[in-house]
Symmetry: C2
Subunit: 714 residues, 2 copies
């Protein structure tokens, strides 16, 4: 009887598995579920707890820790308990537990709606509560948690630990922007306030945009539509002017650094000296081919000296501020691509190069820092393979590097230099997510987590990695292919190239799903081959690979994409007459380029938010790669897709959001006009009130629109 039962259960099980592996993703799951419903299990907010042997993380709404000596997991604080204390103190509840931060061994810090809280775990008391003004944005606390700087509209406020608030800028002209990211977030700029290391000063960007032309966007959500002007400096046109103010918390006086003329320069990679006496700025000219690493006196604003310069015939693009050494505050780490690859250099404050730390035909992608002795430097690089990211440790004395992560894939380790351990968080095309504990000597200690395949019950498209060569044989091009689960090599499949192709991007990675988005798997499973290739011009492959696009956007990128298409056509299961292309933004530019300049190759294209004419793109990104329209008329002409509309043979859908502040709608509208003038039919759609691509729930509609377009026309 018992045996019978077991057999019976087993067969049910088999049936269940057979059944469950056939589950199909819904469109909504595919679009919205990649990080939520189908996000691989992980430990959130994984970090080392100061002055302990433990790392902490969030699990089941509890702040947990794992002691590497005792190898025990402990609960530190439940969110419910924390919230009970907050409510008892007349404070709102914390909503997102993953955004707490250690400020000391026993204290965590987090933001509530309009409060910065430091909470003591041992006393269970609120140590500090800085209540700042509502509508605060760009909240930036100083290191000692005694002051919070933030912006309301275009001015900066500071609220101190006594809850006293001072408005430190008083500009009423809406064209003057204080304390926010400038230069359209290029050059690695993500914020506009910079506390000095000890918290005595706040440096801040002041951007004067009054001379920049407005681009008018229209908000149709009001009773009657209203104007939303955005300052949009277009390539070759007047740009904004940025300066750097330094506010002294004691004297309440602000000094502006004497950054001088010409005013249309870029003040990038702001860094404080550890003693708070100096501010360093990587000053870049508008032409973006000459960088001066300048030192300024933080108190007087005076220019002190230029430490060094970098020049390049094409462009210089600094994106990482200097980082000072701890033991030797006269030295700092500087990252530069000056030898063709992003590498680490040590300079001293006299401007003398102490040493190039890393070297080779690969790129450093992240510098994690030195150990206590400041001899061993930890960093992430592409040395193993541009598809992968591994942790390395460089013995800067010997100049010998060691790879500390071994399994192929993408590693995002959390290193404790003090303890000599790192938590290796990684994934790969085969591993959804895995967390292992290692010593920094590379010794495996313990597996902490191995995530299940979130798609184990689902019928999923199959991923294949592909490598090809550029036509000149000089570079390897990385690509990936998705085939439907039901793939049958004797059949012919319609094939869609999903493309981006622009600088800073890498779509193909040795990561879970291969860097693809889940909707690509969904679409492939409907009976498509999905193909993506990172052409020259994309990121993490060195300056030569990227810089080939200079003054000539769309040309080499197209060449490489066609290498991919030629490869596809060699595959018996690719229907060579049914190849489509889709991409957004730069990928929209590439999509239209491919549809017009290789019109015989593509039957259907869907271009989202495409740049059509680079003279409608902004100064910073645009001029870096294209110079100005006056300086490079031929390059602009050849990249202006309005000049090629009569080539169109296939079916083209353009999608452009009406509130797109990044690639302004003028691009697509002038393209439509040119098509209309030439009596060429194209399709068009818009997502009202969206801004450059479509996020949130509406994205399901977008992806449905895109896939349906291929279903109907490819």
């Amino acid at each position: 009887m018992k045996r019978l039962l077991v057999v019976f259960l087993l067969s049910v099980n088999v049936l269940l598995i057979a059944h469950s592996q056939n589950k199909e993703l819904t469109l909504s799951q595919a679009v919205l579920g990649q990080r939520r419903e189908f996000g691989a299990t992980t430990l959130k907010n994984l970090t080392w707890r100061p002055q302990t042997n433990a790392f902490s993380y969030i699990k089941d709404n509890c702040l947990m820790e794992f002691d590497i000596k005792t190898q025990k997991e402990d609960t530190i604080l439940k969110m419910d308990n924390l919230n009970a204390i907050l409510v008892a103190n007349n404070l709102p509840k914390i909503k997102n537990y993953t955004q707490v931060e250690w400020v000391s061994q026993f204290a965590i810090c987090f933001n509530l709606e309009t409060n910065l809280i430091v909470f003591n775990l041992s006393t269970k008391k609120i140590e500090s509560n800085i209540g700042y003004l509502s509508n605060a944005k760009n909240i930036d606390k100083c290191n000692n948690n005694e002051n919070v700087a933030y912006t309301i509209n275009n001015n900066i406020f500071i609220t101190n630990k006594y809850n006293k608030t001072i408005e430190i800028t008083l500009d009423s002209n809406p064209g003057i922007v204080n304390g926010q990211s400038v230069h359209r977030n290029e050059f690695g700029i993500k914020k506009g306030t910079f506390w000095s290391p000890l918290g005595n000063y706040l440096a801040f960007y002041r951007m004067d945009e009054t001379m920049v032309t407005d681009y008018p966007l229209v908000d149709i959500s009001t009773r009657i539509a209203t104007l939303k002007n955005v300052k949009y400096p277009m390539a070759g046109m007047k740009s904004h002017e940025v300066t750097l103010g330094v506010y002294n918390v004691q004297t309440r006086l602000t000094t502006f650094l004497k950054t001088g003329e010409p005013k249309e320069q870029y003040l990038t990679n702001i860094a404080w000296s550890p003693d708070e006496k100096s501010i360093y700025i990587a000053v870049l000219n508008r032409e973006q081919n000459h960088l001066w690493m300048n030192q300024y006196n933080a108190q007087t604003g005076d220019f002190v000296k230029t430490l060094f310069e970098e020049k390049n015939d094409k462009y210089v693009e600094p994106v990482e501020p200097m980082v000072f050494l701890k033991s030797n505050p006269n030295q700092f780490i500087w990252q530069s691509r000056r030898d063709g690859w992003n590498h680490i250099y040590i300079y001293n404050v006299d401007g003398a190069l102490v040493k190039q730390i890393t070297k080779g035909n690969w790129e450093v992608t992240d510098v994690l820092g030195f150990d206590k002795s400041e001899r061993y430097l930890y960093y992430i690089s592409t040395q193993q393979n541009p598809l992968e990211r591994h942790l390395y440790c460089m013995d800067t004395k010997k100049g010998v590097e060691k790879r500390l992560t071994t399994i192929h894939g993408t590693h995002n380790p959390v290193v404790s230099m003090d303890l000599g351990y790192f938590i290796d968080v990684f994934s790969s095309t085969e591993i959804p997510n895995q967390i292992d504990l290692y010593s920094t000597s590379g010794k495996f200690i313990k597996n902490i987590l191995k995530a299940d395949n979130p798609f184990k019950d689902y019928s999923m498209a199959k991923l294949e990695m592909v490598t090809l060569k550029t036509r000149d044989g000089k570079f390897t091009l990385n690509a990936r292919m998705l085939k439907p689960a039901s793939f049958d090599a004797s059949k012919k499949y319609p094939t869609v190239v999903y493309v981006y192709g622009g600088p800073h991007s890498q779509l193909v990675t040795d990561d879970w799903l291969g860097g693809a988005r889940l909707w690509e798997y969904y679409m492939a499973n409907k009976g498509y081959i999905l193909f993506t290739l990172d052409n020259r011009g994309t990121g993490n492959r060195g300056f030569e690979f990227e810089g080939v696009i200079h003054r000539n956007l769309g040309v080499n990128e197209l060449d490489d994409q066609m290498v991919g298409v030629e490869y596809l056509k060699t595959l018996p299961y690719v229907d060579a007459n049914r190849i489509g292309v889709h991409g957004w933004s730069f990928g929209g530019f590439m999509t239209v380029t491919m549809m017009l300049k290789q019109a015989d190759q593509f039957k259907v294209g869907v271009a989202g938010g495409p740049v059509i004419d680079w003279k409608f793109y902004e100064v910073m990104y645009g001029e870096r790669y294209m110079d100005t329209p006056d300086e490079n008329p031929e390059g602009y002409k050849n990249a202006d897709l309005k000049n090629f509309v009569t080539n169109l043979k296939g079916r083209l859908l353009i999608i452009h959001d009406d509130m797109d502040e990044t690639v302004v709608p003028q691009n697509s509208f002038t393209f439509l006009n040119e098509c209309i003038k030439n009596n060429i039919q194209v399709d068009y759609f818009t997502y009202p009130q969206h801004q450059h691509n479509v996020a949130g729930k509406d994205r399901v509609h977008l992806i449905d629109k895109i896939i349906t377009y291929f279903d109907e026309h490819l």
Copy 2:
């Protein structure tokens, strides 16, 4: 031999006809050629020459005349000769000879680029030359041709015969508009300046729009897109305020009429008394249900009296200013729909009704005027049939009317009351254009012109007129149907309803092509049935037929359109599963209404510039039919098509121009948003830089887009 030749020629002829009748219209011909390439031959600028027995016209760039006594045609002046004289006087050439006007027996008047010229035909000299400022718009000359009024931007200028120019308004606020049409061209308003009969005064509209909200439109034709704000008073929102100024040419002083409060009223149908002492205004309240015919003192601006009032539970819509009698300047003609149909009334200036001249269940569509004795009144009406227009003469003494035109169709006669003749210019479904001379007693004198069928060499769709009954049996509905030339009753055809359906419109007429546009014939010939029906709510059918739509737009119109569709479904050659609908503006509203509220009936819809939500439409037209959103929440809700998006079953393409100042783009954008929110796929297209529908060469692209959409999806 001769006979043989004839036979030979005949057979060639037959071949030629057989061949030539197979010519197919190109899309471009169908869209652009209706008035030009395929316009029926006619005599342009047909008019009676003063103090002669002749009528004049333009033929082969010559001003010709035809003497009805001698029955001889003579050349009066060749345009080349006129231009030679103009050039000799350092004036530009006249470009459009059809815009000359008789000012006396021997003098013609016309505009050059910036000159008003009076030219004497007997002396061959320029009698008068008023050179006004460049950029002049709204050019309005006084009766004696001694002054020209015009606007530059928002101010009024007058240039006199001595070429002296005076700016008579000096408003610098762009929200103040002088001398232009007001109230968004409703109430028959087409201009903003009104010369007094003897030319001593200029009355002009002054519109204060400063309190009206701007609708922001974006012009993408500039280097960087620029804002184009338009003042758009939306239903229920603050509207503009209009006053009427009277400028005295002698004193150069302006008096404003004391039109009083509330300021948001409509000053319509401006008329001068013959003695220039009074101005009459049909003042309408914002609610548009109460009209006061008010007299004002033109010199003091004082209100004199109200002559009479008109009220209606639904709306009063005066569109024709009073016209004073010549022999009895204390009496005037007034047109009113107060008895349910537009009829002619005679009033005296005391406000007493002298007589209702016309009466019956039909509408006067044009009053041509009295004979010298002011006993016989000539007018056009729908008395014979709403599809037709005929000339009538009413003996106002006897109260007996006589129809003077006999052949069915649409007559646009040019009557000479003095001579007792009229030139009957007419067309019908069978007659492209015909011009006959008659005496006003109705006696046929002579045929002047019979136009050839412009399509005689073309394969053309066939027109059929259809009449149906409203469901309640109360009204006849007129409709037309186009069938392909190759029509085969045993086949089934996809069918497209072309709809407008809004007030003031009539699409089905007994006119050449039956009121259809040539592209409808083109489309039908591609293998479609094209069907159009004038539903209740449309024009020229009396107040009950039109006014049924009050507070309830889209409901009765839809009922009647469905009567048409039910009829179509009874036809064996109509494919009941392949019925589509297309329309623009109100027709766009109807298209979307039909697609959503009768979703099972229509497979495909193409809606151009649709009103989606009447709260986004303007005050004048919108509130006349719908009252305000606060006054009529149910009506607005039921007509708000955003509330019905989930009904959509068929395929819907919305086309909306980005510069649409009439139906603002907010309509379509909010509709798209609602579709996106509900994950409903619709298609969308825009014609950048176009304004409510697409004119000019780009229209070929538009019609191609529309027809292609039906080709692909119906």
